[in-house]
Amino acid sequence: MWNTGYKYFENRRRLINGFPDGYQEPNTTSGGLGPYIPPVIDYASCPTTSTTTTSTTSTTTSSSTTSTTTTSTSTTTTTSSTTSTSTTTTTTVPPTFSWIEDTYTCEQETPFVLVTTVTSLSSPANVYYDEPTGRFYVVDLDDVNGNLWYFDPNTFTSAAGRNYVTGSSLPGQYVQSYDYSDSLRKVFLAGPSTSGVYIYNIATDNLNLVSTGSNAPFNRLFTKILNNIVYSSNTSDGTLVLIDPVSESVTSTINVASIPGNTSNKYFNTSYMIYSVNGELWVCAGSYRATSGNIARYDASLTNFIGEIVIPGVTPPTLGGGWSGGFWQSQFYDQDKNRFYLTDVGSKRFTVIDTSNPSSPSIIQQFPITNLEDKNYAYVTWDLNPVTGELYANKTAIDNPSDGSPKTKFYKMNRDTYVFESMYLNSTTSGLKVRPGTNELWSASPGVPGWAGTPGWNTDGRIFKYVQ
């Protein structure tokens, strides 16, 4: 037997003006005059203990002999007494606990319902939740007042709720690549005129520039933290800079021309993305400036070219209007399911790669992106709902990157069979983030300036609040 730490009340007594008047009654949940008093945790009164009782029995024997010499009779009488002692030892036993369902919500016909749209924003590109402050931080591509701001999700209903990070109106006021580390609580920002990568430390409210490379248009289209290293590209210098996100210092500057397999700079030219897959680095095409539509596999140090995954059918889109005619793709690595998704704008096609065998990833499925609603192309991004585990494919049908009337919808995709299970119209989940412990999801849409890339071009950016 041991205490659980809970104290139960057998009886309750009545107080008149704070003093007992002598009346008491059983503490039952119903009946009686007073309210039921529920059990409470009281480790002082009811310490969590186990009680062990040890019994010891000792027997004492005494003998007495009476001799009668006349009759030569001898009589022996034996008596015994038994003494018992009990020893009680108390040992503290830690109670065990479990986590069970507390609050829940019922999924609606749509996985989440839009409840608030905050408009008149510049180009919010992504939102990041910071647990210690309870704030969402927003990277804005071209807000002339600041490229990084935060809002309080309890009160944020209009553009007036923006709180700009001091000094975050970066040189050129234009951000083209960014990332966030939840564990470090740091935001990384880079643009064509930023002279390097700005690192904002939420904990210390400090914005620090790590100088890298030279400034030029489209110079820093890739900034991402992978395996606790910040990678940031610099096109005109032909370098890939590695930054320690903790010390906020450059640890290596790689001349991309020296990277094995990068013949004619086909993998590291202007717009590319890098993913960490099974300990390798996979280099893929970014947005309409890439010179390869295939995936280059490297070791983690980029010193060993493992090989190329050829994606059948990929082709650059014909965008016209002065837009670069490079490959344009997006990717998503579903690490839990060992699947790597790639969508190619030019060929209008999904590709699914099985990564479960690290040494030989293989293409297991390709299927077309259909129903473009009279647009020429579609760009697809991905979001994973951290509460439900659902994967969403966001399809934006456009004619070119500056298309001001995109057709947006998203699909719930089965992570095992890759089929679309549901479709939701006129909406996007771009950068979907959960507010932990609530049924709220937040996301951002940069609007047209996100495509056009001119600082402060207009204010069609929006922040969405959903409930699920």
């Binding site: 659980t4 109670p95 606990f97 829940y104 609606q108 259909t370 609603e373 509460v387 932990p436």
Partner: protein
């Protein structure tokens, strides 16, 4: 809004294993937590309602002779006992040119798509029909999309 029948746990509470009583501690239910509870079907907590709501059909003419279409059916329709099949009709005027039939339910699937091929230029419309177990039409949703090829 109508329930889909899926319950999503938002927060977890800690209980004492011996008593089953809560300790007062709570935390968010997120997928990277070892105590994470994934969504599950719970028709008691989240009962599903039944409707015969018409879907929104998105259709596009492709290549001058093909029409691609897609739509989403709510669970309130899919779980409705009187809806056993969904027929998608491509019509020219009042004449049905081609049809696709989907038999329900297809587990976990709310999304349906297809295409009509070999068409000539002209104006087409798409309608859907809900059929019961005897293939009797109980709901017709006309003119869900108009396409000019």
């Amino acid at each position: 809004m109508a329930n889909s029948g899926i319950k999503i746990v938002l927060t977890l509470k800690e209980i004492n294993d011996s008593t089953g009583l809560p300790t007062g501690n709570t935390k968010p239910n997120v997928s990277n937590d070892p105590d994470y509870i994934p969504p599950s079907t719970d028709l008691t907590a989240c009962p599903v309602t039944y409707t015969t709501d018409c879907p929104v059909v998105i259709a596009t003419g492709v290549g001058g002779n093909t029409i691609e279409y897609e739509f989403n059916l709510n669970n309130s329709v899919i779980n409705n006992p009187i809806v056993k099949k969904v027929v998608v009709n491509l019509k020219s005027g009042v004449t049905v040119i081609q049809s696709d039939t989907f038999t329900l339910p297809i587990p976990t699937i709310n999304y349906f798509s297809g295409d009509f091929t070999g068409l000539s230029s002209g104006t087409y419309s798409i309608e859907t029909q809900y059929l019961d177990a005897s293939d009797v039409v109980n709901t017709t949703c006309p003119n869900l999309a108009i396409i000019n090829l």
